[in-house]
Symmetry: C2
């Protein structure tokens, strides 16, 4: 894992980025850079928009920085593995945390699905998007993951591309070597990693899941994991077995 | 991963546990059971002490539950893998979180080490112990991990058993298949998993680490991970490759 760079803050902007361009900063960005980080005109930041790579920029503005002049590209645009994180939403702060962690682990889409024992009844999709941006800014990720609206598990199962690999984190699976479970798994159509609610799936939900054509049951060890821990653990194992941790070109 | 049981709270107590024994609950436990969970005399809880396994107990007490009568054993005592989590401490809430996550992942000891770029200057060891107990209660872990006092990295390196495997999560390691890195690693003397501060190790610290006899460098993918995410990810990969996730008897 590359080192966190504490010196250059990284900002997501929506505007096109190219050498010589000037970017107007919004009020939140001005406030964050000027009042929280105490940066001023002449200081350097990094910027990305999800399309044009990462750029070095110089702040400008009279009192507080309210513009940035784009200087030069520091990294070309890259992509994310075709890895969707499908999950029963948690409440409030724990959902924020889980979203940030999934982004750090390199997922390209977040799909909340509601199940019979899902604890959170409402999902704030805008807040999920803000957490995606914050995690990407902090962790040097240049592509923003897609955030989907919540939908019932059955509806997602009925409409998903069932040629995708489904990694079903199944608390009733016998403990078995996760690497052996992935032997022969075909990830070329993409991978969905599914983590259920902390109360588990209902029996009819499990039956429906196990009927999917390309399903791998993943047991995450002999101890109980909270859902946010299971997210990071499952994604680490999947990235190691199938994703871009072992093979830098597996995108 | 077994399911979280939301119906029976699990309590750590220090007293010996055996059928027919009565256990006095302390004020915090009485308050938690009576006022937070709204349990009363006659309700059931699970208890463990780290030595005698897990027991079902019936609450007693006039106004609020202040005693528990031990009924029968629900699980025998088990152990934890010989897996030490060695880490540069974080500040406050993020340290609480990291400790809880490491416990969920099944470590048997927590060893804070200070490094040149460690952010937290003080470590509240009592608070770490409280987090160990809380995570064990919530996640059904019957053994409490040891909590060590913080010490400088160099002193730990000078006194550790260097026959133990050291998994060094090295942000400067080239991206490589983590499973290949563990091929041939000897974990029979125990395993230390080391995660540095978010600012990285100093050059002389890295040089010292790479001189250890049984060291495996672990790269955790191409993206930056926060230290708490790296903890769960590294422990998931280590438990899969060497620990008790793949082989239930690897203790």
């Amino acid at each position: 894992m590359p080192k966190l760079d504490f010196r250059s803050p990284r900002l997501f902007v929506d505007a096109p980025l190219a050498a010589g361009t000037g970017i107007a900063l919004d009020r939140d960005q001005t406030n964050y850079l000027g009042n929280v980080l105490r940066l001023a005109a002449g200081d350097t930041v990094l910027m990305f928009n999800g399309r044009d790579g990462e750029w070095q920029a110089t702040l400008a503005g009279r009192k507080r920085p309210d513009r940035a002049e784009i200087v030069s590209q520091t990294r070309p645009q890259d992509g994310l593995p075709d890895l969707h994180y499908v999950f029963a939403p948690l409440k409030h702060a724990r959902l924020d945390y889980m979203v940030q962690k999934a982004i750090e682990m390199g997922v390209s889409a977040l799909r909340p699905v509601t199940t019979r024992f899902t604890q959170a009844s409402r999902v704030n999709v805008e807040r999920m998007r803000a957490n995606v941006i914050e995690a990407a800014e902090q962790c040097g990720i240049l592509s923003l993951a897609e955030v989907h609206d919540p939908e019932p598990l059955e509806r997602w199962l009925g409409t998903r591309d069932d040629q995708r690999l489904m990694v079903f984190c199944d608390e009733d699976a016998p403990i078995a070597d996760p690497m052996a479970a992935f032997a022969g798994a075909d990830r070329t159509k993409g991978t969905d990693v599914l983590i259920g609610p902390e109360g588990g799936f209902a029996e009819e939900e499990r039956a429906l899941l196990l009927k999917q054509p390309h399903v791998v049951r993943l047991a995450l060890g002999p101890r109980i994991l909270r859902a946010d821990t299971a997210a990071v653990a499952a994604l680490a194992v999947v990235q190691t077995a199938l994703g871009d941790w072992g093979k830098p070109d597996a995108r």
